[in-house]
Subunit: 332 residues, 2 copies
DNA sequence: CTGAAAGCGCTTACAG
DNA sequence: CTGAAAGCGCTTACAG
């Protein structure tokens, strides 16, 4: 597929220089409209294809962005959706996305992606929480980067996250409005910043409604490695469960069913993410839809800015989600 | 992140030419071991990063492969798994994969990917069936390509597919061995080559066991657009259903449950793919696991071969899957 | 074992 | 409005 036709070939056929062809094809000034049209027509006729590699070479930019997904998040298709929106947005800047799954091993051994060592990318979008040490590594190497769907205490790094805090806050408010007072939270609150913030949103709602936080109502859902564990259902049964994500909502529904409970008759359940798991339960889950498209758009804007201007700092951006009402909540 | 350190910088520091540095860093002959070691050490010390773009430029190869997934298959994470294995395999050849979702619109309008027009890739792996006209377009443009997980009647194109035919053939044999005689097939047999072959494997098993093919036992599962439709369950109920994929097995199980039937007590169900849907049913589905890793490996080998030698033709390769026994089949 | 020269296909800065 | 020159960072083929 090596394109044998170059700008020079076009130039020679017409009897101009390759500089003129370059200007014409890029719609730059300094070529008469007549000549420009003639060059463009001939380019098509000759089957000319632009050589982006040559441009990269000249500009010292690869026009690729590495999209890094830590291995443990690569299972679902949630991040794949992000990736699709990211690549769509990147196209507008003539950029391409190279998806890389960061293996647990490479993350532990602080092994940077090969794209970095081969100057194959101009920067990275990190999709999903990575270890603090790995972040330090990226920072120390002065690698342009943007965090998507998580953040850390490195205040100088741009992050785009869904508004976990307000999302769950509003969802819990909704449960309270429906008459619920005994509301449990399901999630390991030491696991990721997302879960922590969702928990805090839940807690804020309790505080505002003078409902006390019951230690027994914080139900762990996964171990340190992120593997889901068997859920311990409190006795007596809370009237509602706020799950930190839809998949855990799905697990909870199965657990409740196996114990003979019906949702929403015996208790209500809400999730977060609006991913496939929220539609696999019976009844389907009321949940919060993450605005993947908008988040991806902002992430791309930020990384492109960052490549142009190393010192550009856009900070932490929260993108609001939307509550999706389904049938897993009962008014009491 | 522009790497300011070049081979020439290293060369000047040591007092040799950049040719020697290139040879040393690439472990080529013609440099004394002593010098080689010195150059390598200095490269690390200076934080040198190889510039793959310059190599691409020189060789006229982008060292990228486009992985094209038609939009309608981009929903699940089945193809994402392929993508992961593909990129892992590509690394061994110093290649990178650029994933592109082919929109229904671009497919219809015969719009080639932008990576092609910008010479960003050296070839394509097409992951999932695309229209015949689009295939013609790729062929007419002389684009190196390999088909993964589907094939067509274009006999000159390399395809790597799972052994659909024998997979379902063996699975149906297993049902017959368990005493089943009234076996239905669920799938639109005019939809894709995969479904067709799976159907034919089912039919072969019937033929070999002198079981007649009952027209009413071929149950359509999707319309022309690939959207799943409501399943019509035959009356009387067959003793077993062979579903063309796990997701349809999942749909069928839901349908059967809603009608008051129990699996496997009232009838048995088997699927294909061993994807997430096979584990979401209760009981979980007996199915055929597709050997994604091996298929990806072969696809990468083929496309790399093809880039080196345009006329290399490897044909159609069938990769065997493995039956996964779970609890959705009863011996009768 | 080592290096000068040429070239991959563009674009930028400058001269005319 | 048009073009000659230089350069991006490598590698190949050849000469010494």
């Amino acid at each position: 597929m090596k394109s044998n036709i170059t700008m020079r070939d076009i130039a020679e056929r017409i009897g101009v220089s390759s500089v003129t062809v370059s200007k014409a094809l890029n719609d730059k000034e300094g070529v008469s409209d007549e000549l420009k049209a003639k060059i463009k027509a001939l380019a098509i006729e000759m089957g000319y294809r632009f050589n982006a590699v040559a441009k990269s070479m000249k500009e010292g930019l690869s026009y690729n962005i590495g999209i890094i997904i830590p291995e443990r998040f690569s299972g679902g298709n949630f991040y794949l959706k992000f990736y699709q929106h990211i690549t769509t947005m990147l196209e507008q800047y003539s950029y391409y996305g190279i998806l890389q799954v960061l293996s647990a091993e490479d993350e532990r051994n602080l092994q940077l992606p090969r794209t970095y060592y081969e100057s194959k990318v101009d920067g990275f979008i990190i999709l999903g929480q990575i270890s603090s040490k790995y972040i330090d590594l990226l920072t120390d190497n002065n690698i342009p980067k943007v965090f998507l769907d998580f953040y850390t205490d490195h205040s100088d790094i741009d992050s785009i996250i869904t508004d976990n805090f307000y999302g769950v806050y509003e969802l819990t408010n909704y449960l309270v409005k429906e008459g619920h007072k005994d509301i449990a939270f399901v999630g390991n609150i030491h696991s990721t910043s997302s879960i922590q913030d969702r928990f805090l949103g839940y807690y804020k709602s309790l505080l505002e409604h003078n409902l006390s936080l019951n230690e027994g109502y914080i139900i762990n859902d996964r171990d340190e490695k992120g593997t889901y564990i068997d859920l311990e259902i409190p006795n007596p049964l809370p009237s509602a469960f706020v799950c930190n994500c839809d998949q855990v909502g799905y697990n909870l529904m199965n657990k409740l069913r196996s114990m003979g409970y019906s949702v929403p008759e015996d208790c209500s359940v809400v999730g977060f993410d609006n991913d496939i798991y929220s539609t696999l339960t019976e009844p389907q889950l009321t949940t919060v839809e993450v605005n993947i498209e908008e988040m991806s758009k902002v992430a791309v804007e930020f990384i492109i800015e960052k490549i142009k201007n190393e010192h550009k700092n856009s900070g932490r951006v929260l993108i609001k989600g939307t509550i999706i009402h389904r049938d897993s909540v009962k008014k009491i």
